[in-house]
Amino acid sequence: MNLTLKIWRQKDANDKGKIVDYKINDISPDMSFLEMLDVLNSELITKGDEPVAFDHDCREGICGSCSLYINGEAHGPDRLVTTCQLHMRKFKDGDTIFIEPFRAKAFPVIKDLVVDRTAFDRVQHAGGFISVNTSGNTQDANSIPIEKVNADKAFDAATCIGCGACVASCKNSSAMLFVSAKVSQFALLPQGQVEATDRVLNMVNQMDEEGFGNCTNTGACEVECPKGISLENIARMNREFLTASLKG
């Protein structure tokens, strides 16, 4: 496959940045998208040019590091995959592919396609945990009966890898799908009930402070989420937050 790539290049956080065109030839349809970028970077390095910076780590859809906005969609045109799981067979010979960083005020660009997603870490630190005394008195998790349906929903919510595709896809740069998944994975389990009120209030407050937008229920986040996190979680977080606000 021969392709034209239109890639966002930005030297650092202060640089204005621009789209730069690259031609790349002889790409195998069996390559992953990141392998295609590896080939491009090898060529750039050989020519003495600066390689394109992009985030990646596990390359098997687990870590949530890769974060590219490809042809107008987070993680590209495929569904339920991260960028590292996207294959070049999803494109055609002669295609022009736009590659941009995830855009949001809360995700400032560090360099090229790499963005700072530590806003998610700060939201998580605000309440995405349970406080358990682990000094030898920990109760066996299996001793607490949990309804299968709730266990499944909590597990589904916990599969969120925090990649930020929800924020990138949302026209408002809202982080509600991410935050709601983190709230739900605890709200559905008895272990999460003790700190439920503070958790949702603190996490939503931190989310707002980070500058994410408001959810207008377009559903784009759910469609583009590589883990299929459901909008049901946002409705649950809304209920949790409103209940907690009345209590607080």
């Binding site: 042809n71 107008g72 969609e73 855009r103 740069s173 408001n214 207008t216 377009t218 559903g219 049901e232």
Partner: protein
């Protein structure tokens, strides 16, 4: 509790409550207006009741005005805040791949509805206030003795330009409701086993009610 309206979820909850109230009002408005097609007398009686009953005039009407104002002002506030959350746009964005046109353009359909409400107020609401509260005529009667409401309604739909504007506005209303109806329920936290059924009902409401209003406007235009 005090900070609820300062939070993103609190704002969307308030937006949803005002939307649910306005959708209920719209249904009630439609129920009265459709009477004009079947029975001018019934329409006159219902209009006179709504126009003179104290609870409607002095309690529900101010709530309605506040609801409309709140919905529009909060809509603009949210739009401004949301635009600030992404300061650099994508060079290529394929919004159609993951969301409906209606959901991405609520501000534009909302602005079209706002323009229509201004026209509607000039057409009906302000003259109504003038007759009742400036002229002091609460009788609802024409000089010949019959009720004036049906006459006023049919008179307004003689002008084809006005009918065209109303039809266009109701198309935008349908587009707004096609996203807004379900969105309001999601915002108040209602996403459960009934959601799929609700989505079906929302389509019937979002298309049926505006279509009904269009039918009423066209009916009176072509029959008078």
């Amino acid at each position: 509790m005090s900070g609820i309206l300062n939070s993103s979820i609190g704002r969307k909850f308030a937006m949803a409550l005002s939307a649910l109230f306005l959708m209920f009002f719209l249904l009630q408005h439609f129920a009265i207006n459709i009477l004009s097609v079947f029975s001018p007398d019934a329409f006159n009686e219902a209009s006179h009741f709504m126009g003179t009953f104290w609870a409607v005039q002095y309690l529900l009407q101010p709530i309605l005005i506040l609801g409309v104002l709140f919905h529009f002002v909060m809509g603009f506030v949210l739009e401004i805040k949301n635009n600030k959350a992404r300061q650099i746009s994508y060079a290529k964005n394929n919004g159609g791949a993951n969301s409906s046109w209606m959901s991405r353009n609520m501000i534009w359909s909302g602005l079209a509805i706002l323009a229509f409400i201004v026209l509607h107020f000039i057409d009906f609401w302000i003259p109504e206030l003038n007759v009742k509260y400036i002229d002091g005529d609460m009788s609802g009667l024409l000089p010949n003795g019959g009720y004036r409401y049906y006459e006023e309604l049919t008179h307004k739909f003689v002008n084809p330009l006005r009918v065209g504007a109303y039809v266009l506005a109701f198309i935008f209303l349908a587009l707004h409701l096609l996203h807004g109806f379900n969105s309001a329920f999601q915002s108040v936290g209602a996403n459960n086993k009934y959601t799929n059924g609700l989505k079906g009902f929302s389509k019937i409401y979002a298309i049926g009610v505006p279509l009904g209003f269009i039918f009423i406007a066209l009916f009176h235009h072509f029959n008078h």
